[in-house]
Symmetry: C2
């Protein structure tokens, strides 16, 4: 059975003339044990909610998972797909991509991500188990990770979280092959990985990864452990290859015809490329059949479960019925009260009813709860080891591990993760945010302290380029609301988008309210005319977040001088730029002079204001001083806008 | 002596009404031992090359270092500066900022960075020691780190590197106060830090951080260790504060008058705020005087050292004399040969003479040497534990740790670090790149595989938004040369800029040569007319890197149809946008229709082409297929440019 994996992998890489044969060949034995004796799955129902999750963190070894999916009977993964490995239009991409292939639980390739996603999968499983019981939620998360995954820092954050939270349903098989791309691991690492995992409160087992009995025994121990488990599988990369086995030459390029022939001989596999004998297929069909029986029993339990409908809804990603109507009353109250407050505070205010109405929302913060204000009355019970029913995660000072785990939670389904951090540290978790966008999943980053308004903490803590750099990520929506009502509107939009992550950029400093009418979600097209001019406008101000208020002040002052300025609020530039040209033109005006106002860099604004447009914002890093002083110091004031407007108008 | 630190810290935070008093108060004892008995420094010569380096990785405790610098006699750190903590224009910023304050070796605040910079400091010290000997280079690197630093994943990369490289001159004092912002560490971590460091090949010692003899003994042990050393200092945050000591309340806000009065009583410190008795100043003056004597002896050794001039040059950051003239012959040869090759290959080709001419350049790669081509004949000897004279670092799969260590190397001085990684993984090290830009230091990232040209590895490995997001970082220069000659020119510019980091975005795929004249560095203004039209041009194409060739092909084809297209190459948009408006206009043309061509997103281009400009590039993520097919698939072709040009021209 393992030989079938090895053969498909080396043959597909050879045919593509590109890929990584060594890892699938080295881990074929261990993966065979996992898939044939332990993993609970139904190839005919890849999305069965209670399946075990398998994550190939070492995503370059994608032929391992494609081989397994093909052999175990996932219909979409045909032999033609295997033959078209890494070709345009095939589902068998170079690295496993979520959404392309049934059975691929998460997109991997960027090292360290899969093992960190797995923490979120295992956490979601325990949380949903606490919510819905053993009958509906009772599965495991298995990971295959390589040395690269373990060297990336994010893995330490993940390991630390998993050990702390006691996620005993999580098992990592480490492909301990002693090889990285450049040569032996000893070139760059002397870390005792077993000791490292032990230090993070994991159970650890070391085995010969080619000894199937030993691997099976280790997996049995892992299943009964009260901690997450690391199984170090000592393997030979490219096992069977006459001259390349055990060397970095087997890692990242086709073996070549001669080496492949030698491997066939060494492994006793006499079949032609892409030819799998029927008796091998028959063996590989068994675990899926066993899984289908489990699935069938589970379906019967689901049918009679009291929470059946809610569980099915949650796993589908649909939001609780009636939430939008109920939330409208919150928005109406905001429009009536018009509270003056920081948007991080009005975010906390909006999240209170939202988390009550949307029972799948799970909150958290990277050790900044008091600043991010993500904890709400109904999410105040904290998730800790052995107590997974709460709805708040203390992520610790681990932004990257947090974002990667949030990806895993969203991918698992049944929960909607949102968590807080300082906006400047979106840089720390950017690789995971990018993957959320690429996969098209709903994760929400509550990114508070969104500009020089941070104040005294200084330039290391003040986002300047972050609005631009976050807007740059395709399929990631960055919201920068200007008052409590826009905050509520932006949450509505973000929560209804099941296929994209959202960044909520929120102020530290207090802001007045702008609007008194919540009858329509004005933010839904990304930008709108907040304060019309007098009809025939002389100039247009475009602004976001805290700077909308400054723009309005400037417009009010110009009005006294008979200059008509329109103020456009753009709570989501990503959304606004997706609108049809006629809408955009109707909002920003076609030939009117324009000034953009944002306490960030200019990049990205030229698309709306042009090279000749005016810009009031930042052109470098911030400084350490009280926030209000910094706005003056850097000239982001109504005075500056008024002056620039007069210059533009000659 | 320690009370003076604690008092200044709590009083300055109180006066600023902002800051973090708890950490300086908790670590005052340990820091007093370090500064008074171990640290080698001369307050009158803060930049003395052979000083010990002290790095406050827990940068929020900035009053600790400001207090120490004031007390030990750094003239710039006056009592007025202490009183103006966190105010506009003062050097005592919220977090310690490199370049603002003598004695601050690196900007810290973003957690995990300082401890990771320290690896670079310690590595540079050992390398320069191998190069110049004990007489000139013989110092230690000390770090104070908190729980936050140790939770951030980058710290694992740093710890792993330091342990692997046996950097025994590196000592980390961990402020083991059991507190994070949200509460006790036990909320979010169960990691046994001592065991974790041991697993990474560190010596570890645990002490009571308030027991000065124990701290001194541990520091002595660290000095004689053959490994890097972790000293876990069990401390009480906000020590002495009657109701807040030992709690997260002491961490990040002023203690309040009452609590401060209680602390004075508890610590037996009866002096008024900002009042330090003369006898305390006198005690604190001693270590600096001892250091000054060491400095004086060292200066005598330097004066007679055979390598005196070269050492002084290297430490000043000046490049070896005559390198530019010598490198011209390489450029001339490229202009003659016009080699067709990938820019990652021509980068390797240029680095060969550069590393020979510039003896401070230290190379490396994040486990992608064969792909990044950063290793050159003279840098081929690898730095390993006990053998630091080489010029190549195997960073392992640790992009973030690599970039943070490169920052430390550049800050130490005497070396110019450049290292390779896949460009898409610039996201992994972005927090360190931002700090390099903020500090204004010379680090060079050789970022190969810069577009969908990556091919089969697919969207996880294909930069799309990265050119935009890297250009967004202030004071960071992203170069995207189009052929071997532009590659050489861009290296010339990057190496001559001592105050900014550089990203070299380089292709995986082969490219033809474009220019046959190396007499002038055409890239030095960021952009230039590569291929003029016929005089009265009809349209302008702006392009970078691999897409310049496509633009030239399109222009050539249009010429046959009597349409005159100018092609502008923009090897560095950051530099180009810094030019005066008349130069920019002269290059891009004032009223001519424009099309930008780049295999990335449009963001940033509107500043040159306007909203009405044409764009041939990407508007989402890539795909897995051979690179050439992807260019066709995504429509980044001469055909597409020709067609769009005709549309624009009506």
């Amino acid at each position: 059975m393992a030989n079938a994996i090895a053969a498909l992998s080396m043959d597909a890489v050879q045919r593509a003339n590109s890929g990584h044969p060594g890892m699938p060949m080295g881990m074929a034995d261990a993966a065979t044990v996992l898939f044939s004796q332990f993993l609970k799955f139904d190839p005919k129902a890849p999305n069965w909610a209670d399946r075990d999750r398998f994550i190939l963190s070492a995503g370059h070894g994608s032929m391992l998972i494609y081989s397994l999916l093909h052999l175990t009977g996932y219909e979409a993964v045909t032999m033609d797909q295997i033959k078209n490995f890494r070709q345009l239009g095939s589902i068998t991409a170079g690295h496993p991509e979520y959404g392309h292939v049934p059975g691929v639980e998460t997109t991997t390739g960027p090292l360290g991500q899969g093992i960190s996603n797995a923490v979120g999968f295992a956490l979601a499983e325990r949380h949903l188990n606490a919510r819905y019981g053993d009958d509906l939620v009772n599965h495991h998360t298995y990971v295959i990770a390589g040395d690269g995954c373990l060297m990336e820092g994010v893995s330490q954050e993940a390991i630390g979280l998993a050990g702390h939270l006691g996620l005993n349903r999580l098992t990592v098989l480490w492909d301990d092959n002693n090889i990285t791309i450049d040569g032996p691991v000893s070139l760059s690492s002397s870390t005792d990985q077993i000791a490292r995992f032990k230090a993070a409160n994991w159970k650890t087992i070391a085995v010969d990864g080619h000894d199937r009995d030993a691997v099976a025994d280790a997996l049995r121990q892992a299943k009964s452990s009260d901690k997450p488990t690391l199984i170090a599988c000592k393997t030979t990369i490219g096992k069977g290859a006459p001259t390349k086995a055990g060397l970095n030459k087997a890692h990242g390029s086709p073996l070549g015809d001669e080496e492949i022939a030698g491997t066939r001989a060494a492994r006793g596999w006499s079949h032609a490329p892409f030819e799998i004998p029927d008796h091998v297929y028959a063996e590989w069909a068994k675990p899926g059949k066993a899984g289908a029986e489990e699935h069938s029993k589970w379906a019967k339990r689901l049918a009679t479960d009291a929470n059946s409908a809610d569980f099915t809804r949650a796993m589908s990603g649909e939001l609780n019925a009636g939430w939008l109507e109920a939330f409208q009353s919150y928005k109406d109250s905001v429009a009536t009260d018009m509270p003056a407050m920081a948007t991080r505070a009005s975010s906390g205010k909006a999240l209170a009813p939202l988390t009550e109405l949307l029972t799948d929302m799970i909150s958290g913060s990277a050790d900044l709860e008091g600043s991010n204000k993500t904890k709400t009355p109904v999410t105040s019970v904290e998730i800790q080891a052995g107590n997974y029913g709460g709805r708040y995660v203390n992520w610790g000072i681990r932004e990257h591990g947090m974002a990667a785990a949030m990806n895993g939670m969203a991918l698992h389904g049944g929960v909607i993760p949102y968590s807080g951090l300082f906006m400047v540290f979106m840089d720390y978790c950017r690789p995971s945010v990018r993957l959320a966008a690429l996969m098209g999943i709903r994760t929400i980053y509550v990114a508070t302290h969104d500009s020089i308004g941070v104040g005294e903490d200084g330039p290391t803590h003040q986002p300047v380029e972050h609005l631009a750099s976050l807007r740059a990520i395709p399929n990631c929506y960055t919201y920068r609301p200007a008052d409590a009502l826009e905050v509520a509107e932006c949450y509505e939009i973000a929560l209804q988008n099941k296929t994209a992550p959202a960044v909520m950029a929120l102020t530290r400093q207090g802001l007045p309210a702008l609007r008194d009418d919540a009858s329509r979600n004005m933010s839904e097209r990304g930008g709108y005319v907040l304060r019309p001019g007098k009809g025939a406008d002389d100039i247009v101000f475009l602004a976001t977040g805290s700077e909308v208020h400054i723009a309005v002040e400037a417009a009010d002052r110009l009005e006294k001088e008979d200059i008509s300025a329109r103020v456009v609020s753009i709570p989501c530039m990503d959304l606004f730029l997706e609108q049809d040209e006629s809408y955009i033109r109707s909002v920003i005006g076609k030939d009117l002079p324009k000034i953009a106002v944002e306490a960030g860099i200019r990049q990205g604004w030229d698309g709306l204001i042009g090279r000749e447009g005016g810009f009031v914002g930042m052109n470098g890093f911030g400084a350490s001083a009280p926030g209000a002083e910094l706005f003056k110091h850097f000239g982001i004031t109504a005075d500056a806008i008024v002056e620039l407007a007069k210059t533009k108008l000659g």
